[in-house]
């Protein structure tokens, strides 16, 4: 109670300061790095830990699997690249799902909605039949995904049906549709393996690599670009007296990004083939980064993104602000299905073809688990695209590590489920203790 009243009584500086450190993000108040660290620790203790738990989970997974995997193979370059390729599908699906989850809705259909798109793409590049150029086939598949999203989104927003039910129906309908498309004209399933360069492009989405030298140059350019944006943005805000993080924090952020980029390129450039050479950054990394960068920009820097958060936080406030709720919501479902199309295309590339055994029901649950265990709220309004990346790595890490141990899919299911349960329990408990402290706020 004293804490809740504190901001009102400005003449009591200590109480006000305590309240502020508890409730205001540290980067808003701190003038120096030391202050920032102290504010950050206070905030974590008060229950709002941000992405810290998921990073801890990643560390634990790494340490455990490195210790118990045969020949400590978990952290070998070859396995890490493989791990990222496995995680990429979960990450991309999760980056789509997050748009719908931010609204407080859910889309259960994306595994098979994306599957329909990927099946169409793979069928269209088959040299025996359609012979479409790869880019046209990709566009056709993604357009179908957009149409699926528009249909489901309209049913949810215009007819006010529950998104859970609409997309549950979608899950079944698109699974059937996918199987029909895959069964067309072929006895076996359409494959991406082949010598023609057209199919090779799609196969290389996941499996192709960028030349090691070019990888270094590209990584350098990207890091410098991001660093420049961060540096000039923050210093401009500091100069005009706006809320901005301390200089040292900006430098640390840039250093961290550079470090990650160097580590990723260095690992990928190690020769990971048993015979011959296989080195370089796989194409899937820039693809995932592109989706990540684009969707982050849309959510954080555009009107549409702002409205997504507003609708998730308080739909009535959004309505009174004159926001077109139905339009924004429908667009979120479209983006979700579109991104799922990209994700399943990567999956098809990973599998070297499209198969009727693709388990879209499990993929969507992994995608939802990814964002939720990284701290996105299923009730809407809270979450960031980076959650999809971090959560996807956790799920992919478990999947990969269990595979290395020779444990089959039964144990993967159980462990993944337990990790999700533990993650959301910790999150929910810490938040409950955080809110009960300020429940007295009037």
């Amino acid at each position: 109670m004293a804490r809740a009243e504190a901001p009102e009584t400005a003449h009591d500086p200590t109480a006000a300061a305590t309240a502020a450190t508890l409730e205001v993000p540290p980067e808003l108040m701190a003038q120096s790095l030391g202050e920032w660290l102290r504010a950050w620790l206070t905030r974590i203790r008060s229950g709002d830990s941000g992405v810290l738990p998921v990073i801890l989970a990643l560390l634990i997974i790494t340490i455990v699997f490195q210790a118990i995997s045969p020949h400590n193979v978990f952290l070998s370059a070859g396995n890490l690249v493989n791990l990222f390729q496995q995680s990429a599908v979960f990450m991309v699906l999760a980056m789509g799902e997050i748009f719908v989850i931010l609204l407080g809705e859910i889309d259960l259909s994306i595994g098979y909605a994306g599957g329909v798109g990927a099946a169409i793409t793979v069928q269209l590049v088959q040299p025996a039949t359609a012979k479409w150029p790869w880019w046209a086939a990709v566009i056709a598949g993604l357009v179908v995904c957009v149409a699926i999203g528009a249909l489901q989104g309209s049913l949810v927003t215009r007819l006010r049906l529950s998104s859970l039910i609409v997309t549950l129906a979608g899950l079944l309908i698109w699974q059937g549709t996918m199987l029909i498309i895959l069964g067309l004209a072929f006895s076996g399933y359409p494959s991406l393996a082949g010598l023609d360069s057209n199919r090779q492009v799609l196969y290389n989405l996941m499996n192709g690599t960028i030349d090691p030298t070019i990888s270094w140059i590209a990584a350098g350019v990207i890091v410098i670009a991001i660093a420049a944006l961060l540096w000039f943005g923050d210093s401009r805000r500091r100069r005009s007296g706006l809320v901005a993080p301390p200089v040292s924090l900006t430098i640390i952020k840039i250093a961290l990004i550079a470090l990650i980029a160097i580590a990723v390129v260095a690992i990928c450039n190690v020769n990971r083939a048993a015979f011959g050479t296989l080195a370089g950054v796989p194409w899937v990394i820039p693809i995932v980064l592109a989706v990540f960068g684009l969707w982050t920009m849309i959510l954080q820097r555009t009107k549409f993104g702002r409205y997504v958060y507003a609708i998730g936080g308080n739909p009535e406030a959004a309505r009174r602000a004159g926001i077109n709720l139905a339009g924004v919501r429908t667009l979120c479902f479209i983006i979700c299905s579109f991104t799922a199309g990209v994700g399943l295309l990567l999956y098809a590339s990973y599998l070297g073809g499209m198969s009727g055994n693709v388990n879209g029901g499990q993929l969507v649950l992994y995608a939802i688990a990814s964002v939720v265990l990284a701290g996105t709220s299923l009730f809407g309004g809270r979450g960031r695209v980076i959650h999809a990346i971090l959560g996807g790595l956790v799920i992919g890490g478990i999947y990969n590590g269990m595979g290395l141990l020779g444990l089959d899919v039964r144990w993967q299911f159980i462990v993944t489920g337990l990790v999700l349960l533990v993650a959301i329990t910790i999150d929910s408990l810490s938040r409950r203790s955080a809110t009960s402290g300020s429940a007295a706020r009037v």
Partner: protein
């Protein structure tokens, strides 16, 4: 508080309503309601629950369309059919639930739906500067950071943000629905001070309230509705607690016309 000004010296009301009727099905919510709102004056709209305060407010805000009657804006007849019409005239409403998104920060809430853009992206710097200027002008100084989420604000601070959001758009008439209903003593004082500052900026302010403490504290004029009819309106000095209560409960006052003294204001029964 506020100096007593005779209606004649106030000139033309900024907003006039004449003969407003509104019904919902068989229920007559408003009957021939007249209302004057002056620039630089706080008008308190009083009435018991169900008297028609909210319906009248929502008609002016464009949420309900009136059946009969006419609105006048600075003397000219106007039609207000949608919230957009009202916003165009410079009418802003702060509803009791405030309509703030808890997960957004103060700047994001203040500009929600009217974001400033640069090269197709949100112009955060510009919005942050404008929001902090407005808050400084209204002397809302207790918030720690303009970038903190609204969820972390106290009730009084939230009310202040909602009011700042309303006055940012060169608004000329601000209507506040029960602005102090959920607030403690300190925060109520904060909000009443804020209302006075709006008046001093030359805005027409209407406060809907049935808290007579607040009404007599801040209002220059008082208008009372009873069962959908405007039973009286005039300078706050013409009322004391008893007459106001009489009007609110019975629609008339036996003491009407009697001179209400400032002593009556202070010691009248609640």
């Amino acid at each position: 508080m506020g100096q007593v000004v005779k209606d004649s010296t106030l000139g033309e009301p900024r907003f006039k309503a004449r003969g407003i009727d509104k019904h919902f099905g068989p229920v007559q919510a408003l009957t021939k309601v007249d209302l004057d709102l002056y620039a630089g004056q706080v008008t308190a709209l009083c009435g018991d629950n169900g008297a028609g305060k909210s319906v009248l407010t929502k008609c002016i805000a464009g949420i309900y369309e009136i059946d009969h009657g006419q609105f006048f804006w600075e003397g000219n007849p106007v039609h207000i059919r949608t919230p957009r019409d009202a916003a165009k005239l410079g009418i802003e409403t702060v509803y009791q639930d405030l309509a703030l998104a808890d997960n957004l920060d103060i700047v994001q809430n203040m500009f929600l739906g009217r974001e400033r853009m640069r090269n197709g992206l949100l112009n955060e710097d510009d919005m942050e500067r404008a929001a902090s200027t407005t808050l400084a002008e209204l002397r809302v100084t207790t918030v720690r950071s303009i970038r903190q989420p609204v969820a972390s604000l106290s009730g009084g601070q939230r009310q202040s943000v909602a009011v700042a959001k309303a006055v940012m758009w060169n608004s000329k008439l601000v209507m506040l629905d029960e602005p102090t209903a959920a607030l403690g003593v300190v925060q109520t004082k904060q909000v009443l001070d804020l209302i006075r500052r709006l008046r001093d900026r030359g805005l027409a302010v209407m406060v809907i309230s049935h808290n007579l403490n607040d009404v007599f504290e801040v209002a220059d004029r008082i208008a009372v509705v009873h069962l959908g009819r405007m039973v009286t309106q005039g300078n706050a000095s013409e009322f004391d607690r008893q007459t106001a209560v009489d009007y609110m409960t019975t629609g008339a006052s036996s003491r009407a016309g009697q001179q209400a003294s400032s002593e009556g204001v202070k010691s009248g029964p609640r």
